[in-house]
């Protein structure tokens, strides 16, 4: 471990505007191996923008990001590099390609090839079966069908399985249980514990404060594009948290 106290990820005052809209004015936080951090904030506060910067989808206009103590150079600030570093996201809308099958979606961006040009479909199907079995998804009829033929729950399993399979270091979940029932929510929370136990850090965006208190080691509030310093879950009451979310008050 290096001098920075073992921080896996350091985000330092990153900002991002779209045209005239300041989506994120300044975002800072740190993340350690095997830690679950929750990001909370009102709609439009800048949560998704912050995690998309971490995921490499957006390059920050200013500020910087360090992974394992190494600054990410601006020209490396892209999805390919972040995925190479082991950072994966489960997007709010799942981000699946509906007309392609489950194996393709699982291997999106890293399809195994044979002879440099052919898709290695057997390897993809084998690995997909393994991943779905690990996630206890057993009702999938055919891995050759477009994923849109699967149920919403199965599609979510594929999206989460994809992030867990490739996200060695950090798995980011953007409101993963907003649309799920209690059983499925419990299943997703179990998975979060599982990957935390294997040493992967988790960033969870959630509006469900009970869930946040149940899962998070630390909590980060985003208010009008600004992050407040993250605080440990034990040091805060839910009233304080609500005030921080709505008014941007610091939690001491």
């Amino acid at each position: 471990m290096s001098e920075n106290g073992g921080a896996l990820l350091q985000v330092e005052e990153v900002a991002k505007s779209f045209g005239g809209v300041q989506a994120l004015r300044s975002g800072s936080f740190e993340l350690s191996r095997g830690e679950i951090i929750a990001i909370v904030g009102a709609n439009g506060a800048g949560k998704s923008t912050l995690i998309k910067i971490v995921a490499g989808v957006y390059r920050p206009d200013s500020g910087r990001m360090l992974v394992r103590g190494e600054p990410v150079a601006p020209r490396d600030h892209n999805v390919g590099h972040m995925r190479h570093l082991g950072i994966e996201v489960v997007y709010q809308d799942l981000a699946i390609v509906p007309n392609m099958n489950a194996p393709y979606n699982l291997f999106l961006g890293r399809i195994p090839k044979r002879f440099g040009i052919f898709v290695d479909e057997n390897a993809m199907r084998r690995k997909t079966r393994e991943i779905l079995e690990d996630l206890k998804v057993t009702t999938v009829q055919s891995l050759r069908e477009p994923i849109s033929a699967m149920s919403g729950g199965q599609q979510q399993s594929v999206a989460i399985g994809r992030a867990i399979a490739w996200g060695r270091e950090i798995v980011i979940l953007d409101e993963p249980t907003a649309a799920l029932g209690p059983t499925e929510t419990g299943e997703v929370e179990r998975l979060m514990h599982e990957i935390r136990d294997r040493g992967t850090a988790v960033i969870l965006i959630s509006h469900n404060l009970e869930q946040v208190f149940r899962l998070a080691d630390r909590i980060l509030v985003v208010h009008h594009g600004l992050t407040t310093p993250a605080f440990p879950r034990s040091g805060v009451t839910s009233e304080q948290l609500v005030r921080a979310i709505t008014l941007g008050e610091q939690v001491a």
Binding site: V57, L94, A95, I96, N99, M100, V119, G152, L180
Partner: protein, 337 residues
């Protein structure tokens, strides 16, 4: 639950129903060609079914088929290329001009020209973010105009024997004329078809075509370089037009300023008749073969039946509308513009 999920009341039987309509959609091309063949057999009988006529159809289809493949590559991604007709004419002329300059190897100028046109199409579309329809419409006009300028309105002929003295606008290439005849032209088309099938169904590039037609946004979220891939798509289509230009030149025996005019429409029609939705996302090489064949057979059958060529075009236009109406996946489109 997020993601496209069947709404309430859409139970297993509903899924089975949509499965059946899917199956029907997939088989429409086969049903259509059987009906068309039956119709012309009834109308024209022996003259339509003769070996001579089907040899003619086998000679007539390959150029259209290869243009349809070029179109299929682009349409699968949800874009369209209406410059393939101009590109074909231009490449035929460049191929024959290349042979005048360089001898037989000069024929690669045709493939090169079509590929470069594809590259320009793809670059304008992808880098300048101008819709593929507008981009390739501009190229349809520009490339045809360039062909007129370069050819100065004249033609260059491919001949069996070297011309003596007076007939300078020609080049001797008996092998090319042989390629344009049956059965060689058919064999060439079948080989390209086999390669196209492997390319479309088995390679990463082929899968990516369908995925791009499904969701470009998701591909870029996962680090797929969509900008460069979209350029490559048009380059691949251009290369296919280049292959088409070779057999087209062999068959017609001349590079002329008007070659390939309106062929883009037939190419789009063949793809649509093959059941590929113009909204992209999926498609089929084999059904595109059936689509191209259907189009050729209809034109041929109407000619044999003595229908006026203008009415024949009307019939093919109607066929195109029917084909698109059937192949359209209405769940994919909210509004029609």
């Amino acid at each position: 639950m997020s993601g496209p999920e069947p709404g309430p009341g859409m139970d297993a039987s509903g899924e089975a129903r949509s499965g059946r309509s899917e199956m029907l959609r997939n088989n429409v091309p086969y049903i259509a060609i059987v009906l068309v063949v039956l119709l012309f057999t009834i109308v024209s009988g022996d003259r339509f079914l003769s070996v001579r006529n089907w040899t003619f159809i086998a000679q007539q289809t390959p150029v259209l088929l290869l243009l349809a493949y070029a179109q299929l590559i682009v349409v699968t991604t949800g874009s369209i290329d209406i410059s393939v007709g101009s590109s074909l004419g231009f490449s035929m002329y460049m191929a024959v001009l290349g042979m005048v300059w360089l001898g037989p190897v000069g024929i690669v100028c045709g493939i090169l020209a079509a590929t470069v046109i594809g590259f320009v199409n793809g670059s304008i579309f992808s880098l300048l973010k101008i819709s593929s329809f507008v981009t390739t419409l501009a190229m349809l006009i520009i490339v045809r105009a360039l062909l007129n300028i370069i050819s100065d309105g004249g033609s260059i002929y491919v001949t069996e024997q070297a011309a003596t003295g007076t007939y300078v606008d020609s080049v001797a290439a008996p092998w090319l004329l042989a390629l344009g005849r049956f059965p060689n032209i058919l064999i060439f088309a079948l080989v390209v078809t086999a390669l196209m099938w492997v390319f479309y169904e088995k390679t990463l590039f082929g899968q990516q075509l369908k995925a791009l037609g499904g969701s470009e946004r998701v591909l870029s979220l996962f680090g797929v370089s969509v900008t460069w891939f979209k350029i490559q798509v048009f380059v691949a289509a251009g290369f296919m037009v280049g292959l088409a230009s070779l057999i087209s030149l062999g068959r017609s025996g001349a590079g002329t300023p008007r070659a390939g005019e309106q062929f883009e429409l037939d190419a789009i029609a063949a793809v649509a008749l093959g059941g590929t939705p113009l909204t992209g996302g999926h498609g089929s090489v084999l059904r595109t073969v059936v689509g191209a064949l259907t189009l050729t057979v209809v034109a041929n059958g109407l000619t044999i039946a003595g229908v006026d060529p203008s009415w024949s075009r009307v019939a093919r236009g109607v066929l195109l509308i029917i084909a698109i109406a059937i192949s359209l996946n209405r769940r994919r489109i909210g509004v029609v513009k």
